[in-house]
Each structure stands twice: as structure tokens, then as C-alpha cells.
């Protein structure tokens, strides 16, 4: 059965609307809290970027030192030649066999071409390259190249995203309390350089 009078329905509607209004306020505050979290994450990112720059400097100094040592060592005439060459002639077939077995078992793709490529590579290589750990140095240089590319790609995307968020968070919705009675004109921000998520001292890439 219908339990309530029209007056009571009005009263219930008022109470319910107050609850909904509180929820709306919470939702608006929620938007602002997320903005604060984005700012916090970005501050952490900026300090991490400084750590990255320092680590990059140290890594590259160590790489330079390694290359210097390698150049100095290469400048020496190849001593112990006979010993090296004799060992190399026995090392190559073993290396080729081990590598082809691994490749067929693990890499699961055609090993014919790879076998010929490896044969050529070993015949062109010198045991000195091996003796000086030339393979490890080349791998380091390759990963250095990849790491620079990865950081550049991440920086580019952050720069673009931060200029958009900079504009978004400058909106009065974020800088004024909703109770403000000022009329909020539609979006139309004076275009500004994105400094919100990015220090003016933009890192030299």
C-alpha cells in the first residue's frame, strides 16, 4: 500500500537530494585529489629523471674508460700470436656447434642462414677480439644506444602529455572552489608554455 503523503514525499526527496549533492561534491573533490596525485607522481618522476641523468653520466664515463683501454690494447702488436691462432682454430668449430645446437633448440626458427652467417663471422673475427672481450664491449654499446632511444621516447611523450595536463589543470575548475559564484566561462585558456609538469630548465636531450 502507498504509505506516505505528498508532503512526506517532498521531505524524502529533499533528504535524498542532499545525499546526492554530497556525492557530487565528493566526485568533484575526487577529481581534485586525482590531480594532486598526478602532480605528486610527476614530482617523483622529475627527481627520478635527475637520478637517471647522473647514472647516465657515470655509465658513459665507464664506457669511455673501457673504450680507451680497448684502444690502447689494440695499439699493441698482437703477442702470443701462434698460441692464440692455434687455440682459435679449435675454438671456432666448438663455438659453432654449440651455438647452432642452442639456436635450433631455443630460438625455434630456421638455422641455415644463421649457420652460414656465423661461419663467416667467425672466419672474419680474430682471437684478439675474443681475448679482449670485444663481444661484451659491443653488447654494452648496443644497450647504451637502445637506452638512449628509450629515454628519448619516454621524454617526448611526457613533454606532450604534460603540456596538455598543464592546460587542463590551469582551468578554473581546478583552481577555484565550486562554491565560487563567479561564472565559469567555457574553456579558452591563454596558451602557456607547459611548465606544469616540466621545470623550465628543460633537460638537454
Amino acid at each position: 500500500e502507498q504509505l506516505v503523503s505528498d508532503n512526506e514525499l517532498e521531505e524524502m526527496s529533499t533528504q535524498g537530494s542532499k545525499y546526492i549533492n554530497k556525492e557530487i561534491q565528493n566526485a568533484v573533490q575526487g577529481v581534485k585529489q586525482i590531480k594532486t596525485l598526478i602532480e605528486k607522481t610527476n614530482a617523483e618522476r622529475k627527481s627520478l629523471l635527475n637520478v637517471l641523468e647522473e647514472a647516465k653520466k657515470k655509465k658513459e664515463d665507464a664506457l669511455d674508460e673501457t673504450r680507451d683501454s680497448e684502444m690502447k690494447l689494440k695499439a699493441y702488436p698482437e703477442v702470443c700470436n701462434e698460441t692464440m691462432m692455434a687455440l682459435w682454430e679449435e675454438c671456432k668449430p666448438c663455438l659453432k656447434q654449440t651455438c647452432m645446437k642452442f639456436y635450433a633448440r631455443v630460438c625455434r626458427s630456421g638455422s641455415g642462414l644463421v649457420g652460414r652467417q656465423l661461419e663467416e663471422f667467425l672466419n672474419q673475427s680474430s682471437p684478439f677480439y675474443f681475448w679482449m672481450n670485444g663481444d661484451r664491449i659491443d653488447s654494452l654499446l648496443e644497450s647504451d644506444r637502445q637506452q638512449s632511444h628509450v629515454l628519448d621516447a619516454m621524454q617526448d611523450s611526457f613533454t606532450r602529455a604534460s603540456s596538455i595536463m598543464d592546460t587542463l589543470f590551469q582551468d578554473r575548475f581546478f583552481t577555484h572552489e565550486p562554491q565560487d559564484t563567479h561564472f565559469f566561462p567555457p574553456l579558452g585558456f591563454p596558451h602557456r608554455r607547459s611548465h606544469f609538469l616540466y621545470p623550465k630548465s628543460r633537460l638537454v636531450r
Binding site: 537530494s17 546526492i20 556525492e23 590531480k35 683501454s69 651455438c99 628509450v150 617526448d156
Partner: protein
């Protein structure tokens, strides 16, 4: 109080939010872009420790240097690495030791740098997921804002309240309340007997359930 939303002005409130969605979406796209490009890949520095088969396969295909990492499995190759030329040329032996030491330092720093890069990438993922949350939260506020442009001063209007037994064999009685949230379709909310109508929390319970139903439908 936000009541009514007119502080934002009816039209500008909705206009105001629309660009927000576009901007948030653009920021997300910008943030996620590099991770979708095939050229973007973290260097597999695991091969420095010889742990990552994938990296070795790639290197073998790329330029065969991946095979040199298997020198440990060939005695004669190991013997090359341990050839000691210091009797012929002590200076060279010293240089070689210097090279190996700096190589170890460079490998350790490269590994460390890679770990820092990955934590930097995690920061980007965090920001991207926060943008997703921002979008979702905005969506909810914007829809409410959109709905509050109606004439009715009530956000929630109760139209009927009825009570009946929840089913024939149990005497417990439930209260059924039909409400409209802004100008949504009528939403029927069933309140269990434990929350009686004279409970001060009754209408909060009704409004909370109605809002949940509304958000479920509009998601």
C-alpha cells in the same frame, strides 16, 4: 553547497567538461604512445648475466655476436681468454686487466641504468592510469552536471513508497521506493525491513542504492 549547479552556468558547465575529456584523452594517448611503437624496447641487459635466451636469439640472428656468449661451453675458447702474454709483454697484460676492470664497472652501471629506466617507465604508467581515473571521475561529474540542467530543483525525487512482504512464506516486509535521479528513468529501490522508514538513514540508503543503480546503467 553545489546546489544548484547554476554556479557553473547551465551551458558552460557542460561545454567546460567536454574539452576536459578530449584533453585527458590526448594526454593519455601522448603518454602511451611510445609503448605501442615497435622501435621502443628496453635493452635486454639480462644477457650481461647470460640469463635471457630471448636476447641471445635476437643477437644471434642480428649479427652472430650472441654466439660468443657461449664461449664458456668450449674449453679451447676458454683457454684463449686465459692466455697470459705477460711474459712477452707485461705492459699489455696490465692494460688487459685495466680493460676487464672497466668493463665490469660499465656492465654494472648499464644494468643499474636499465633498472632506473624501468622505474621511470612505471611512473609513466602510473600517470597514465591516474589520467584514466580522472576521466572516469570526470565522466561521472559531467553526467551529473549534464543532468542538472533540468527544471526540477530536486536531484532525487521520490514518486512512490510501498511496502510488501518480500515473498509469501516469510513475514519480513520490504519497502519499495521508486525515485527519479535528475531526469533519469524511474529507479526502483528495495529497502530491507532492517532499515525502517523512521530510521534517519533510510533516505541515505535509498539515495545510495539509486545512485549505484544509476552509475551501473550509465557506465
Amino acid at each position: 553547497s553545489l546546489l544548484p549547479f547554476s554556479h557553473y552556468g547551465p551551458l558552460s558547465f557542460h561545454n567546460m567538461f567536454q574539452p576536459f575529456f578530449e584533453m585527458i584523452h590526448q594526454a593519455q594517448q601522448a603518454m602511451d604512445a611510445p609503448f605501442h611503437s615497435s622501435a621502443f624496447q628496453f635493452p635486454d641487459t639480462d644477457f650481461l648475466r647470460g640469463d635471457d635466451d630471448r636476447a641471445v636469439c635476437k643477437e644471434i640472428r642480428h649479427n652472430s655476436t650472441g654466439c660468443l656468449k657461449m664461449k664458456g661451453q668450449c674449453d679451447k675458447c676458454q683457454e684463449i681468454l686465459s692466455v697470459d702474454c705477460s711474459t712477452n709483454n707485461p705492459a699489455q697484460a696490465h692494460l688487459r686487466q685495466e680493460l676487464n676492470d672497466s668493463l665490469l664497472v660499465a656492465e654494472r652501471l648499464t644494468q643499474h641504468y636499465n633498472e632506473l629506466l624501468q622505474s621511470y617507465q612505471r611512473k609513466m604508467f602510473n600517470t597514465s592510469s591516474l589520467l584514466e581515473q580522472l576521466n572516469e571521475q570526470f565522466n561521472w561529474v559531467s553526467q551529473l552536471a549534464n543532468l542538472t540542467q533540468g527544471e526540477d530543483q530536486y536531484y532525487l525525487r521520490v514518486s512512490t513508497v510501498t511496502t510488501h512482504s518480500s515473498d509469501s512464506d516469510t513475514p519480513s516486509r520490504v519497502t519499495e521506493v521508486v525515485v527519479k535521479l535528475f531526469d533519469s528513468d524511474p529507479i526502483t529501490v528495495v529497502i530491507p525491513e532492517e532499515v525502517s522508514r523512521d530510521n534517519p538513514k533510510f533516505m541515505d540508503t535509498v539515495a545510495e542504492k539509486a545512485l549505484q543503480e544509476y552509475r551501473r546503467k550509465t557506465r
